[in-house]
Amino acid sequence: MATLKPPTNTHRSSSSGPPKAPLKADSTATIADNVVFQGPYPVTIGAGTVIHPRAKFYTYEGPIVVGDGCIICEKAVIGAPPPSSSRSSSPQPSRDAESSPKESTTRISYFVTIGPSSIIEPGVHIHSSATIEALAIIRRGADIGSHAKVGSTCEITGRVGEWFVVWGSGPGMRRKRARGPKPMSPAVLDAARIAQTAIPAPAPAGKVIEDARLMVLQKEREVLGRMLVPVKKK
């Protein structure tokens, strides 16, 4: 599934435009044509990752590392675009001088889904199997735990624990997902005790839901890859 299409042939910003970030992508990654890679630092993309059109990677403040099996949806912005003033007037050296001392790597681990138009600022660490939904904003230095989910339009600063869901909008509300088997609802237990009926069999651990979700994601990615290949061959 060698569907790598690095945007080397789409040099719309060849001479005077912003610097193109050095891209180190796995051969099995699927990268759309008009993904923007800008900045002095490199971008690393793992195997099986799908990057949708018009996603933007800005590496002015540090390298970006995307792990295996991620999905980065369209118009997602990873990293921060350069300040507009310096972009127009003085292109490269001044900015490098500014940002190099506090170089911050943006890490996106395995099987992360990043929704459309979401913003991941530099220095963010997103752990494996996390989900960032559409229009979410992950501020600088945030840390999203594994299997966490950030709902759409949420804005995260700081840390989101493992298996946590941030929902609502803005800072949002948080809740911890069931990972292991959970105690049965007290309403059911009371009912069983009062009605003198048997307590229903214990439910499986909440983890199965997450496993199922990841499996579906995996399938989706495979199908997408299969759909894309014939197009590329033409």
Partner: protein
């Protein structure tokens, strides 16, 4: 008001009866429908109109009430002004109907999620919630989906446990340790799981009201025990012969407890009411007169005051006193010994934390003892209703939707805009070369300069199939402290019928051009003239209103200009400028009459009607044109 300028509101005449009466009087006199013997009941508005008319004749000099202009600023008018599209029209009363002069009745209940209609007999039992598979997430209120666990992890066998899962916040019923065996009838499965009624409780409460026993309640100390003992102890009979109240009995579920309490207090009210045959008291509780009697007699008989009300009180037995629930089977629930401490300990424990505590919003729809996220149960979707609307005065149906939830059609829908012309307002823009050079090319409606005349175009669009004659009337000066002068340049005009569009198109090119002449006509027509309609189309007519915005009290324009209308006596009250006083709203009285086809019932007695079965109908109402906001200074 909250709408962007310019806006138009129509006043429903229900709020204030003194809508100018000449129109009403005439309507009641001329409209032959009013004399129809089939409708002998006089409409209240009509009779009132007549009455008002006579009083007005008597007191010509002080007919303020009748000729009172509608004041858009009066606090009452907030309740009578509606956007035109929200109003209905009653064909029987020939009157505009707002949401306050209609009654609603529920046509059907349905679940908005599965669009299944719930029979009205089941709505109450289901607690106004969908009885099928529709649930909302107790955490985030998103709809829950039924999904299988096995299917996702293994191969698609469609077997195995099922869960409800929220796609948004990833809550599943596994979070509360619940799974379902079948993908259908989740509600009943859940109900079975959480049904906390003790096995025999239902029978017990049933029998309680039937059998009589002589066992005395240990705590009954009322003097009337002897007389009312039998009745009193009806509900006690089963408890004591049955296994003694188990003090360690587990607490009931909230539903069972509520049912027990309800049964208990219903029995109590029935027994302690003065007239045992009074079934009202058991049904309606304290709201019935019997219950009130009983309450009153509590005071009179238990004190010495009882003697004041005559000697026969003594002969009468003391009324029984209601007691409270005392046993668990009656619904009494004793708080656990260290319940509070347990809850606090749980709150403080690291695995609960802030996230583990249910928020107020989440607890609102849950059982009263749900404190933690782990206590939340999935919520069946609340049902919605389709409602028919009736006129309050004549019970005529105004709106009747299709019963089927899937259909958005209406069987009957008498919206007012099919009967009254739709008013729209727009400012008239002048080029600088026009005759009024002082005017801004496009007046900014959010900041109108005081004392500078502007012209606004009022377009009335007729949706009836008969041409309509319109008479507009405005007070020369708007009511309120900001006196704006308003002149309708052509107060009387006609609007064409809402005929077929094709007819008009076939009439030739001239007609089509006149339809579009609204924008093109600005250049040709130039200056608005008094007595002339500005523009006219197939079923619409545009007239010009000349508006001279008044000055705000206390504004800089006031002193210099010295406008006699604006600087009247309430200049003194300048300091406390009221809210939204700068909003320029013009009350306009619309009187319309048209020749309608006579209805069938009039044809029979149609002597009063005109030839070719035409009846003249009239309608009159106030509307309010929100033109803009007046600037504080010139």
């Amino acid at each position: 008001m909250s709408r962007p300028f310019p806006y138009t509101f129509i006043s429903c005449p229900c709020a204030d009866t003194p809508v100018p009466d000449p129109a009403r009087k005439r309507r009641s006199r001329e409209s032959p429908q009013k004399q129809s013997p089939q409708k002998p009941a006089p409409r209240p508005s009509t009779s009132e109109g007549e009455k008002k008319g006579t009083t007005a004749n008597e007191q010509r000099d002080e007919d303020d009430e009748d000729e009172q202009t509608f004041d858009p600023r009066s606090p009452r008018s907030d309740f009578s002004l509606y956007p035109p599209e929200q109003l209905l029209y009653c064909e029987e009363c020939h009157q505009i109907k707002c949401s306050r002069c209609i009654t609603e009745e529920i046509v059907s209940w349905y679940c908005p999620s599965c669009l299944f209609e719930t029979p009205s007999s089941m709505v109450r039992g289901d607690g106004n919630r969908c009885g099928r598979n529709c649930f909302n997430c107790p955490v985030c209120t998103a709809p829950l989906a039924v999904s299988t666990i096995e299917n996702a992890t293994g191969n698609g066998t469609q077997q195995g446990p099922w869960v409800l899962s929220c796609a948004y916040c990833l809550w599943t019923t596994l979070d509360i340790g619940i799974k379902f065996d079948k993908p259908t009838n989740i509600r009943s499965q859940l109900q079975k799981m959480t049904d906390a009624t003790p096995p025999a409780a239902f029978d017990r409460s049933r029998q309680a009201s039937r059998t009589l026993d002589s066992l005395k309640h240990p705590l009954s100390s009322s003097a009337s025990v002897e007389e009312h003992g039998n009745a009193r102890e009806r509900e006690r009979d089963i408890e004591h012969p049955a296994p003694k109240e188990d003090p360690t009995a587990p607490p009931m579920g909230a539903d069972a407890q509520f049912a027990a309490l309800k049964n208990f207090y219903r029995a109590q009210i029935a027994e302690t009411s003065n007239s045992p045959n009074d079934h009202l008291s058991s049904d309606f509780g304290f709201s019935s007169p019997g219950a009130l009697n009983r309450l009153m007699s509590l005071y009179t008989s238990s004190s010495r005051l009882g003697g004041l009300y005559g000697g026969n009180k003594k002969a009468k037995s003391k009324p029984p006193v209601m007691r409270e629930a005392l046993t668990a089977s009656e619904g009494l629930q004793i708080a656990p010994k260290n319940g509070e401490a347990d809850i606090i300990a749980r709150l403080a424990s690291p695995d609960c934390g802030w996230e583990g505590v249910a928020s107020l919003d989440q607890r609102k729809a849950q059982a009263p003892n749900a404190r933690f996220v782990g206590d939340l149960l999935p919520l069946p979707v609340l049902l919605r209703t389709k409602r028919a609307k009736r006129c309050k005065s004549c019970k005529h149906i105004l709106v009747k939707p299709e019963t089927k939830p899937q259909s958005t059609r209406f069987r009957i829908r008498l919206i007012a805009l099919s009967y009254i012309p739709l008013p729209t307002l727009c400012p008239l823009a002048f080029s600088s070369s026009s005759a009024l050079p002082s005017m801004a090319p496009t007046p900014d409606l959010d900041s109108l300069s005081p004392l500078r005349p502007i012209h606004v175009l009022l377009t009335l669009k007729n949706h009836m199939f008969d041409p309509v004659r319109i008479t507009l009337a405005t007070p020369p000066v708007t009511p309120g402290r900001v006196a704006t002068k308003v002149t309708v340049l052509s107060p009387q005009f006609e609007i064409g019928a809402n005929s077929d569009v094709w007819d008009e198109a076939l009439q030739g090119a001239s007609a089509t051009s006149s339809g579009d002449s609204k924008s093109a006509g600005l250049g040709q027509r130039g200056v608005p003239e008094a007595g002339k309609v500005w523009d006219k189309g197939r079923n619409w007519t545009t007239v010009v209103l000349e508006v001279v915005p008044g000055t705000l009290p206390g504004s800089s324009a006031e002193g210099g200009d010295g406008n006699p209308e604006t600087t009247d006596e309430d200049v003194v009250a300048v300091a406390a400028s009221r809210k939204d006083e700068d909003v320029l709203e013009i009350p306009v009285f619309v009187h319309m009459d048209w020749d309608a086809d006579a209805q069938l019932d009039q044809q029979n007695l149609g002597k009063a009607s005109k030839a070719d079965d035409k009846v003249t109908r009239e309608l009159a109402y106030w509307m309010v044109l929100g033109v803009g906001r007046i600037q504080a200074s010139l």
